[in-house]
Symmetry: C2
Subunit: 674 residues, 2 copies
């Protein structure tokens, strides 16, 4: 840890002092130059799958794709299904499936395309994500050839509508404790799927209320091998038909409707109860486990925990898509609010007849610009995670277990970070648009309702953040997954002291920047990238080290292991947040480093500074308390946010234009009159 000096001249932290970072104000740019800058920034933000983005942009530049609040629930659901059929007929879904299953096998393209739907209608994204990502992904990744042959092309074409029946009324986060059972009956070679209790009911399942004909059901597999007692082998996934062609529940299946929700009107969330429903044995998605005719259970992965988490891990695509789409939704809301702020005036300008643009108020800039900066940073990290997932899941990919594990942790962290950001950004955007923001015709209020559940579905954000921390503290050790809280605390306590090491390779650009910066962060300019990385890394390391020490010490003092864990829970959550924010920063820096356009790189540099300064400001008490920044520097950080807002103000429109949101999808009457 750096020991900051308390003396630091205010000047050295002034963000305008860095000659390298001078940005040409937009006012000085010709229209052509500005357009070029927008293009260059968009090129950077679009990332590797930019061709897909342009493709979806072209297809989706239609205001009729926007949510229509006047539709009834049934109409809204039918409408989304209709649009999905249109997408499907345009080949939208093929990328998500392997070529030998009938797809085109481009995972990154698939996720990017889903993300782009977030600019149109979040219901569409969720419904598409359920059908092709979750349900299709379960069949693709947990099934074997017999399932691929039988289902995949129908899933792509929407000839088979499915749902993903994991969550139960009683269990969301704790999937290992699901109550639904699938018991093998050797006599008939069937599994009997059953919901033994009211809390075993499948709940909140997208598609279960109306459209799904089939469900990928997660249930405890129970079987009796020859000469054995019946035994449970943990949660597995089964394809279970739930409705006939007319949409009626099949015998033993009782579906119901979750009804009206806080948003996502176009998604038919529902519930399913199973009363000893019989399915053929072959409906077990048997990539990681199988049951022989005689009831003998077998699996290539002996350890049942590892098997469970391996299966779960293959389903990571949903989480990555949700994070990506939240990013898109946040960008769209910020674009609407920024455009409004650039035409809306209020209160008289001094010595002038006209009133002041609300975007010219520092308070307004401080509301929107730091969120735009964070959106840039998140977009860069998201592109990197999407690309990593593509590599790991592509047939040619290197599916190394450690790399998969790292990806799962990073994706969990980014999902929480990105969806909380989006929820907050949309909320602030709504407020920044005042009454106009509350009218559905201007979209932001609809987005507010739609995004809300993103923070708790596909993994509750608090649980995910904690997961990141637990993985980090236990250094991604094997066999830690699935340990009870107690077991995990004991594991940490038993680890060699200070064994916690950075396992992932430090990327070259970060290494170089670190080497070129002073170890004493206080001595270096705060706009120095190496210093910025150091501050984020030092925070993370400090939190990891002290959290581990705290857990060990508390356990040494013979406290109850759950109590030890629980007393440190806020510390643990902070570890996860700090970790993810550091990862996001480093992704952003990588992207700036790789940017070919000098003007774009300069603007991105300022945006990165604002991201860093406002992230530091948001956590300033921690940095002060743990003496990672001095009081003088803390004050400079607050001033720096203001100065950076002022500097980026002329670029506000450029920054949001670079998101490349199709114009028709930004339809909002408030933008016509201000």
């Amino acid at each position: 840890m750096a020991t900051p000096t308390t003396q630091s001249s205010a000047g050295s932290d002034a963000v305008t002092d860095d000659p390298e970072a001078v940005v040409p104000p937009t006012d000085d740019l010709s229209d052509d130059e500005r357009a070029l800058l927008v293009d260059n920034l968009r090129f950077v933000l679009d990332g590797r799958w930019r061709a897909i983005r342009d493709n979806v942009r072209e297809q989706s530049n239609r205001a009729d794709l926007l949510p229509d609040p006047s539709l009834t629930l049934d109409e809204a659901r039918a409408r989304i299904l209709e649009v999905m059929r249109e997408l499907s007929s345009n080949g939208f879904a093929s990328a998500g499936f392997a070529t030998d299953h009938g797809g085109t096998g481009d995972v990154g393209a698939s996720i990017t395309a889903i993300e782009m739907l977030g600019y149109a209608d979040l219901s569409l994204m969720v419904k598409a994500g359920v059908q092709w990502g979750l349900f299709g992904g379960a069949v693709e990744n947990l099934g074997t050839e017999r399932h691929h042959k039988r289902y995949v092309s129908d899933i792509i074409d929407l000839d088979l509508l499915g749902c993903f029946a994991m969550t139960e009324t009683g269990h969301g986060s704790n999937v290992q404790a699901l109550e639904t059972t699938a018991t093998y009956d050797a006599e008939t070679q069937e599994f009997v799927v059953n919901s033994p209790t009211p809390s075993a009911r499948k709940d909140y399942i997208g598609g279960a209320a109306q459209h799904a004909r089939v469900a990928a059901v997660f249930a405890q597999l129970v079987t009796t091998g020859p000469g054995e007692d019946a035994q449970s082998y943990g949660v597995h996934c089964f394809v279970v038909p739930i409705r006939d062609d007319d949409g009626n529940d099949l015998p033993g299946v009782t579906t119901s409707d979750c009804g009206y929700k806080g948003g996502l009107a176009g998604v038919d969330n529902g519930r399913i109860m199973f009363d000893n429903v019989r399915i053929p044995a072959e409906n077990l998605l048997n990539r990681y486990a199988d049951v022989a005719e005689d009831g003998t259970y077998s699996s290539p992965i002996e350890n049942s925990n590892r098997r469970f988490f391996t299966m779960l891990g293959t389903l990571i695509r949903g989480r990555v898509s949700v994070a990506a789409t939240a990013g898109a939704a946040g960008r769209k809301a910020l674009t609407l609010a920024t455009r409004y702020g650039l035409i809306r005036k209020q209160f008289e300008a001094p010595d002038a007849d006209d009133e002041i643009l609300v975007m010219d108020y520092l308070g307004h800039q401080r509301k929107l610009l730091p969120l735009i900066a964070k959106s840039y940073a998140i977009a860069c990290a998201q592109n990197e995670i999407t690309a990593e997932l593509h590599e790991v899941q592509s047939p040619s990919g290197d599916a190394d277990a450690a790399r998969q594990r790292q990806l799962e942790s990073d994706a969990a962290g980014l999902k929480a970070y990105s969806t909380w950001h989006a929820s907050h950004a949309i909320n602030i955007s709504r407020e920044a648009c005042g009454g106009a923001g509350y009218l559905d015709e201007n979209q932001v209020s609809i987005m507010r309702g739609d995004i809300d559940v993103f923070t708790t579905f596909e993994g509750d954000n608090t649980v995910l953040t904690q997961l990141v921390a637990k993985e980090l503290l236990s250094a991604y050790a094997d066999d830690v997954q699935g340990l009870s809280t107690t077991g995990w605390v004991r594991f940490i306590a038993g680890m060699a002291r200070d064994v916690v090491v950075e396992k992932t390779a430090v990327r070259q650009v970060v290494q170089t920047l670190l080497e070129g910066s002073d170890e004493d962060t206080e001595k270096s300019n705060l706009t120095n990238r190496g210093t910025q990385i150091r501050l984020f890394r030092n925070r993370e390391d400090h939190l990891v080290r002290t959290c581990a020490q705290r857990l060990r010490k508390a356990l040494d003092d013979e406290n109850d292991a759950f109590e030890v864990f629980n007393n440190a829970q806020d510390h643990l959550l902070k570890v996860g947040q700090a970790r993810t924010e550091r990862m996001v920063l480093e992704s952003f820096i990588q992207v700036i480093n790789d940017c070919d356009s000098r003007a774009a790189a300069q603007v991105l540099g300022k945006v990165c500074d604002l991201f860093v300064y406002s992230a530091l400001e948001a956590d300033l008490s921690w940095f002060l308390m743990h003496r990672h920044v001095s009081v003088e520097r803390a004050k400079a950080i607050r001033r720096g946010v203001n100065e950076l807002c002022l500097e980026l103000r002329p670029h506000a429109r450029t920054l949001v234009d670079a998101f490349g949101i199709p114009e028709e999808l930004l339809t909002a009457p408030m933008l016509e009159h201000g």
Copy 2:
């Protein structure tokens, strides 16, 4: 300002060390004792108008009053109007109007009753607030006998449905710049009401889309006195009929519908355009200004700014009601989330078959308990503001201008503080309920949509917070209201140095506590009330002083006055927040001081500690940066929040039960199975 020592033993800040503050854990209480504790807490929270609260509780304990998301927009609006008619026939609205106008003249009762509607349906509260509070209040407070006689009893009985047409498409916060004109025509003794531009359109007006027959229209009064040129006298209010008995627009009036919104489905927000609509001269609400037959303008208040702000000031009731209702909504969401957290289990308990109640996780406690504590504090401050408004507006009341001015500022601050809190608390409550929280059947998602606009209507929170700061910095000087930003900055610069004084009387209990505490806050225990008050007061004083200095200095340096103001806007907003939070704390302390039950006072003391600790934690970087707390103390504050959460955990149910929300209004299927 205190100069904290950096040495402070951790032990001295431990919240459990104070023997005076020991609370009997709920587990030790018998059912009777717990019920009594709930009653005593409720007695405190209910405040002066507790009889009204009980009355509304009794009347509203019906699940059919809850919002029904399955209704169409038209049905939802009709339903709310129907419930209002029921309320009206039960005498609900009489309290808001003076006895000699046909009411019962109990302002405090009126506001309290409206607040209680927030437990049922926020649409109902808003629609009732528009009819009786805003429209009725305009007639009552800006009109004279001829208006009272003609309108008030019809308003109470809903024989006259009105709306409050202040906001325009182009102007919300800056009411002085409204564009609608009302030009006096001496020949016909009429006013001609006109919307000269598209941005002059009245917008977002509750009731304007469908139900209102009459509008209280705010417009620039223009008249030509004998021998004078036509002159504008600023914004005044006029009663303008807008629809006939069949609901058709009257000639020259064009209404339209704002349509679907982020929430408040039962409120028919709409727009109005006036094309030279003629109304009788007597429709000017002429308490503060009149126009003679010959066009001569007269007013008892010569200064046009003061006149305008006096008129606005009488309308404060809406703002107070909105703050109060937001408080109620926040309490309800927290109650639902807390009850869910007390039955919902997730993840296995160590060495036990059962899973852990989510409320037993520190992370979950940290989400909900500090918000409950803040709700307590706000409820106390709200009761005080309501009572003060009652005193100021009651016929027998002392309508001293300074007191009115102070009330306006306090109400503005509390409105912003309370509605931001409610919006945040409902958001967190939704997340704390996971998927269940997103289903409308469990209410929280509906409340989330409904509360959203509370932060920007009846005064945008940012603008209001700034208003509090501006008033405070200019020491409530006359003639500051209505000054342009430039003018205000120049005024501050011209004030005698350090003239900024606390104008309001320090209440006795605060005086006593301050006297009994060490001036050096660092030397005293943090659970000491005097120390708590000092920390809040020192922050406020420090911010006010440095903000004034900063403005003066910047202007001395001959900067542009708007720039000076704008560069300090974040500072100014912080002044307003700190001011309001100090006011809230002192209200809470007063209430605890006055509490008769020792057990209730003990629990309230812990709740107050949690409010203080979490408020300090939320602003810890400021306290550290300005050396109002040491690093050691800062760490003790973080620990203190955890410890207080743990201590209050057994009281969680008691604390929310004490809100006294009618059971039927807490109907939520998620509370049946967990």
